[in-house]
Amino acid sequence: MTLYWRKVILYLATAMMELCWIYALVALMNGKGIPENLSIISLITAYPIAFGTSLILHRLKLHRIARRAISWLIWLIVLLLMLKLLLYGGTAWADSAWLLSIPRAVGQIFTVFRAELLIVIGTIILWWFGSRLAGLKMNFRTLVIEFQFGLPLLLVFFIIAFLLDINIGSIPLALLFFFFALLGLSISHAQEGSVWLSGIYRGHWAGLLIISITVVLGLGLLIGLLINHNFIQLILTGLNWVWDIVTKVISWLVSLFPAEQPSPVEPQVLPVTPTNPGEGTEYSRLPEQVRKIIGGGVVLVLLVLCLVALWRTATLIYNRLTKRAVSNVEIETLRGGFKADLFRLLRWLAKVFKIKLSRKQKSVRPEVITVRHLYRQLLHWTITKGLPRKSSQTPDEYLAILTNRLPEVSSDLSNITRLYNGVRYGRQIPEENEIKELKRNWQRIKLVRTSRPVVEPVSA
């Protein structure tokens, strides 16, 4: 492999590692905030353009400020072109609407995240990283930094995507990232003379590298395929079976104690809506007090384990230092410091526990968060449809306007509003089936956008 090709591969590996997490970020923003689906691949073309532009500008040997000014001027042109081609394909070039869409999107930044804004943010990131790549020195250190920087970012985006239920293509992205990371790291490592192979295998360096990468990725893919929904379900069923036995034993133990006297005032709670007998799985629940005791016990055990681990680590460090020390050097025992740290840790844990406990009492249920979040999404969506809510309008008043404008989804809108009213003003907690229905309502409402053009804003 010639030096030129090594350099090309290293540039490619770095670029691909960066592009993997940038793609994840842009896909996340696209899936989360924007009603329209934007072509991310088209957006990513800004990266190679930025790289190419920077290379050319580097060769022109201009002043640093002039170089940057020209670079960002080209970015502006690329941005406008992308905006026109990706979002306003049907609009005439002379029409100022597509140009004015950027300030409009910036103005609405606190209410709705528009596609224009995504293009602006996306191209800025891509342009900056693309330009940066041209100035990087390709060596092992750079590749390691890129890997260390990209991996946590990628993981964070994957977790966010999982939590928000957005498909950003995690598996291919992870495979791509690791492939290029391994490739780049090994080549750069070899380039610096410290090859990971020795003896007779040194002659088959490239072949073994490809085999190693293939094996690592293949194993990763195999694990990814094996640990699917059914597999997890199987494990959960097994755990549930074990848990069932444990609960039965604990319930039997609890039954040995005398029953608690009923309180004189019975709490008045609305009856729970009966669910269909076929729906859902029945879970046996432990009594609240037993659960609290078990929970406390588990926390205690974990704490003790942590402390033992700390103690053990401290002792090991101490022993190691003692062995290495020169005879006339006095080494202070770690136990005194360790004790002080331990007490400090315990005080901190008690403080955290106290704060958590007070927060728990005020905590909001996830169902409530879902309903309120969905209503907020609805409000943002209606803004994009030109039907913003006046600040003095109640949800029911607003519903009347929405159903008048969008009669095809009136039942969906009224269901969302009804649930929201109950949750927001009545401290009610929706049932699981209601949440499911709510999500279906929202999906149906979102479909309206394709058939209905933007309407005029509601007059005040």
Binding site: V272, T394, R424
Partner: protein, 327 residues
């Protein structure tokens, strides 16, 4: 949906029971009064808050009839006071008289000592007589000579007044107006409703056949339940924001009092339970803001000259105060 235990104490059965009773009351009054369902509902709101109502409108609209129908729908001790300029406080509260047979002073209760009191044409009574109602309205007691007599529970006062005929009348002072939870204006009926009135009253007066549908015990129980309706912190803030806005509005000389805020919140609770909910919504507060607040305000001279009604001012305030909703 489930309820969280904290803050919500009403059961679905309680709510259904109250709603059923409310519907019964409204239907009963509607046997006499045609097309004024909203006004009847507001009267019921005031009854549930154990507060007083001022019915204000031009003559012949049916104010007294509505007050009598509402009073007859309740199974309580009903008295009527016809206010005239020569009406004295002792005519209202009662007097101590010398009983020659027993040789001692005895108390003869006035018409104010009743469950439901209809004070007709209240603004025809002199300020002196009007003032004797202040204690009754706020503290539900009456002081005669040195004796304090507690009024029976529930105590509700339905007063009527004519806003156009000013000769020989004495406008109610702000302190008295503030003691009325709501001021209800009935307005003219539409053509169909007026025709229906003719048909209904052709043979005889339906008021004569009206029977009570709510006992006083039942009303007291509903009043208790009404106080348990959940009011979210944001709704409380919303109600406070509305009343505070009346104090800073450029067209208002005297804004709503804290008693008005309390009244607005209580009335919203009552309206919520009447409409079958165990929590208050911003719609309840908005709906009640005009009847609860407008009569308590005092407009500035320039606003009066411009002919801006206080109702319009309150509506304007409602349109500016943000409703607590997600952003």
């Amino acid at each position: 949906m489930n309820m969280e235990n904290a803050g919500i104490k009403l059961s679905q059965q309680d709510i259904s029971r109250v709603k059923e009773t409310a519907d019964k009351f409204i239907a009963n009054v509607e046997k006499v009064i045609i097309g004024k369902r909203a006004s009847i509902e507001l009267i019921l709101v005031a009854l549930l808050c154990e507060s007083h109502i001022l019915l204000e409108d031009v003559p012949g609209i049916g104010k007294t009839m509505l007050a009598k129908a509402a009073a007859k729908s309740l199974d309580g001790n009903f008295k009527r006071i016809q206010c005239t300029p020569d009406l004295l406080p002792s005519d209202v509260t009662g007097i101590h008289y010398f009983n020659q047979k027993t040789g001692g002073f005895e108390f003869r209760p006035g018409p104010i000592i009743a469950n439901i009191v209809l004070v007709d044409e209240i603004n025809r009574a002199t300020p002196r007589t009007q003032s004797c109602l202040l204690e009754c309205m706020q503290e539900q007691q009456v002081t005669v000579d040195l004796d304090t007599i507690h009024l029976p529970r529930p105590f509700l006062m339905l007063a009527t007044q004519n806003p156009v005929e000013l000769q020989g009348t004495f406008p109610l002072p702000e302190a008295q107006l503030d003691r009325f939870l709501m001021c209800i204006r009935l307005g003219y009926p539409d053509e169909n409703e007026e025709q229906n009135i003719l048909i209904r009253f052709q043979q005889n007066n339906p008021l004569d056949k009206l029977t009570s549908v709510i006992s006083t015990g039942e009303l007291l129980e509903i009043q208790r339940l009404c106080r348990q309706v959940y009011v979210d912190e944001s709704i409380r803030s919303y109600a406070v924001a509305i009343t505070r806005a009346t104090r800073t509005h450029k067209g208002i000389e005297l804004g709503a009092s804290p008693r008005a805020t309390l009244g607005l919140s209580l009335a919203a609770q009552a309206l919520a339970i009447i409409r079958g909910r165990n929590y208050v919504m911003p719609d309840d507060v908005k709906y009640l803001a005009v009847p609860v607040l407008a009569h308590r305000l005092s407009a500035k001279a320039e606003a009066r000259i411009k002919g801006r009604s206080l109702e319009a001012v309150v509506k304007e305030i409602i349109d500016t105060v943000p409703v607590p909703v997600e952003k």
